[in-house]
């Protein structure tokens, strides 16, 4: 008799056996799944993680709302245009992220990261008050600033609010704390950075970039507007502000000086020197209509009086285009 036609004498028990085995497998799968999410597993859960007032659970919603997984991977799943984000918090830390996320179109400079160090939430979270302490804690942040600070990135600017940024940082803090069982694999290559770049690209690409750290040069002091232009570059201001009238993350600067600015509270103000200085030192004092509050950090303690004056002088020179 043929085995293989339903109902024949040896086919029926074979088929029955397959069903029994499938049943056993289903049972085993369910049991293993239950074991996977028990408390004794010791996996971190998002309800236990927060970054200052921001909760990781909220951050996950922000992460999904912007479909971050459509360009990045998270625990390795997602798209492959950008880097994996699982360990992003552990690598770059909250200040780098806070400096990067509002103006993702360009890489944060050292000054932009330094501006975020004043944030009490950041301070409470990492305990780092100076850029040296921060870089010591998150060496990769220093690498990134050194190699790419101020250059354009491949990511578009996203309309993230201040709260959403905090929540995203909280979420990345949660994923960094997760036990992902050995992934991503630890880098064990012994070569130094230069050598590794040479291996990857076959060129000595890194030396000039690393040799030019973002120290404000003093040579241009003679002309305040030129000095202001240099300061604007070093501080990474143009990550958010266009030198034309165009809106990036914040308002554009072209023709701003001397114009009338409508504010979020319905009033309007003349953009004179006092207004410009205040907007640099206390950006939240007057919010321009149509822009979110608290996105720009305060540069009150980061810039000296003459530096602020130089930047204002530079702004005078920018005409509407």
């Amino acid at each position: 008799m043929s085995c293989g036609v339903g109902g024949s004498s040896c086919e029926t028990p074979r088929r029955r056996g397959a069903f029994v085995m499938l049943g056993i497998m289903t049972l085993a799968f369910v049991v293993l799944s239950l074991f996977s999410f028990m408390k004794s597993r010791g996996q971190v859960t998002p309800d236990t993680v927060s970054y200052g007032p921001y909760k990781a659970e909220d951050g996950k919603r922000v992460f999904q709302a912007y479909n971050c997984m459509g360009c990045h991977t998270m625990v390795g799943n997602g798209a492959y245009l950008g880097p994996d984000l699982t360990r992003e918090y552990a690598q770059a830390g909250p200040a780098w992220l806070a400096a990067f996320l509002p103006s993702a179109g360009s890489w944060p400079t050292a000054a932009a990261v330094r501006a975020q160090l004043q944030d009490p939430v950041q301070h409470a979270d990492t305990g780092a008050a100076t850029i040296e302490a921060y870089d010591g804690k998150f060496p990769e942040a220093a690498d990134r600033v050194g190699r790419r600070g101020g250059k354009p990135s491949n990511m578009p600017n996203l309309p993230l609010s201040k709260d959403e940024i905090g929540q995203l940082i909280a979420y990345l803090k949660y994923t960094s704390a997760m036990n992902t069982e050995g992934w991503p694999p630890r880098v064990e290559a012994e070569a130094g950075l230069d050598e590794r770049v040479r291996l990857a690209l076959g060129v000595q690409a890194i030396a000039p970039a690393a040799a030019a750290p973002a120290i404000p040069p003093v040579a241009a002091a003679a002309d305040p507007a030129a000095r202001g232009a240099q300061l604007v570059k070093d501080n990474g201001c143009t990550a958010c502000h266009a030198t034309t009238g165009q809106r990036l993350v914040g308002p554009g600067w072209g023709g701003l000086y001397g114009s009338r600015v409508s504010l979020a509270d319905g009033s309007s103000v003349m953009a004179d020197d006092a207004y410009l200085v205040e907007s640099i030192r206390q950006p939240n004092a007057k919010i321009v209509a149509g822009y979110p509050a608290s996105v720009m950090p305060s540069y009150d303690t980061l810039l000296k009086n003459d530096e602020v004056d130089a930047i204002v002088a530079y702004l005078h020179s920018l005409e509407k285009q």
Partner: protein, 572 residues
Amino acid sequence: MQIEYQTQRLSLRFFMLMLVLFLLQVGYGLVLATQHVDPSVQAGTINFNIARAEHLNLGILWILSGFIGAILFVAPLLARREMVAPWLIKLLFYALIVIAVWNFFTLRLAQYGIAGWWHGQPWLQQGLEYLEAGRIAGVLVLVGFAILAYVVLRTFPPVRQWNEIHWGLGLGVTALMAVWVFGLFYVARLDLQEYFRWFVVHYWVEGVWEVIHISLVGFLLVLMFKVDIKSVGFAVFWGVALVWLSGLIGNAHHYFWIGTPEFWQFWGSLFSALEPLPLVFCFWHIYLDAHTNQRPLENAPAFYFILGSVVLEQIGAGILGFSMTFALTNVWSHGTWVTPGHAHLALFGTFGMLGIAAAYYAVPIMRKAPDYDQRLGKLGFWLVLTGVLGLAFAFALGGTVQIYVYRILGLGWFGGDVSRAMGLFKLLLPMFGITFTFGAGILAYDLFTLGRRVRAPAAADPRGVLHGDAALPRSNTGWGRPLSGFEAGIWLMMMWVFGGIITLGLLSFNLPRVRVLADPTLPYLLAGVGYPGLLLVTLAFVWRFLASLEARASLPSPTVAANVLLPLPVRS
């Protein structure tokens, strides 16, 4: 062959919808390939993640559309009566269009961070890979699946008269709906969210689509080669059984690194290593059915695509899947370009090609053009096959470079090193993408206008060139000689040898020489031999297989005896 039941004609609109969605998906794919080369293209207008969400979403929708078309075409034949409730099927058609249009608008909202949170659920879009659509679309899809399951199950005869193909399709459409339910809840924990996301994605592909695929391929073979339905039933039963026996626990290969415990790494590797078995089984099934009876190929494009489906399933899902399924290799391939090489072959190859095959089988019958010009279909097949193999090649080799730079050297994206190192392979993507697009355009044009174009009169075509049944010097020797089982086995083994080389290449990243001393020679060498070798062997094998079929003597085609199609009860 003619239409036997009027409701079979309902499938036509689904095939046409499938082609429209397919073309749109290919268009988004071209955008993505271009943005990989230069991310500033269209940034701010169509961000990469929006285009990718559309690309994945349309991919699922057109594959489903093809499945529905194929199921609607065969269900009346299987049931030996008209479909019940044709109005529901028409409703399903419009629902599919509404879902596609709705998603077009809602997926864009990710650019503004709008998910439509209400009662803890994202109603507009939810930003999860493959399940990007929001809850509103999700519920609509569920309703659509319910309609499909209802119509198919009500049309089928009583359960006691079902054969294996009935069971396969019946279980398939039911499980399609059941599995989808797991994707309809927001989960706050990342590990649990990924657990359930793979529940939907893996079990859809591995558990449900595969079952529908096996059943449809089986039945199309019955229709095309007049194979005995009982032996196809046997193949369908064990194909499905093996899919589930390996794939049920094989799902664990998605649970290696998402935060679930390490014990998954062992069973996940072991059982998903068995997942190619049903595919090998299916490969032999189609070989045997196509080769034992020496009938000539009446509808070449339809069989071309069935063969493409089974072969790409073998190398995309089977071999490339195998190479990256062990925790030891997956730790490297995971989260890199190596994965989409596998995904494109497995999804478009296996399921997309089946939908196109079904369309090529059914459309000429419905348009009453059995002697249609088959050259365009064949040309389209070769273009999409080359295109998709090329894409897989670019992804796989680009991914190998990516692993080395990103994971071995530890150079992140933030230095700009990874994409620079991958540059050459990034450039290959749009190139093969354009090849693929040409093929897709030709196929769509051919199927849209099939039976409506001016036909060359038969007298002007004495050798039957137009109808594809006469390759010019039709030789039964050399490349066109009959393909013996032994030779097919050699071809299959060659594919697996290259698969083994690819697997060793991924394994070699674990060696201290590569990992610590950062010497990429071995993995680059193995990948450089393995991937091109595998893809070229595949191309050559498909060519050889089809040449042997084309060379068959052109016999007068016997009319289908209706009783061949009769579903025979499994147990009487």
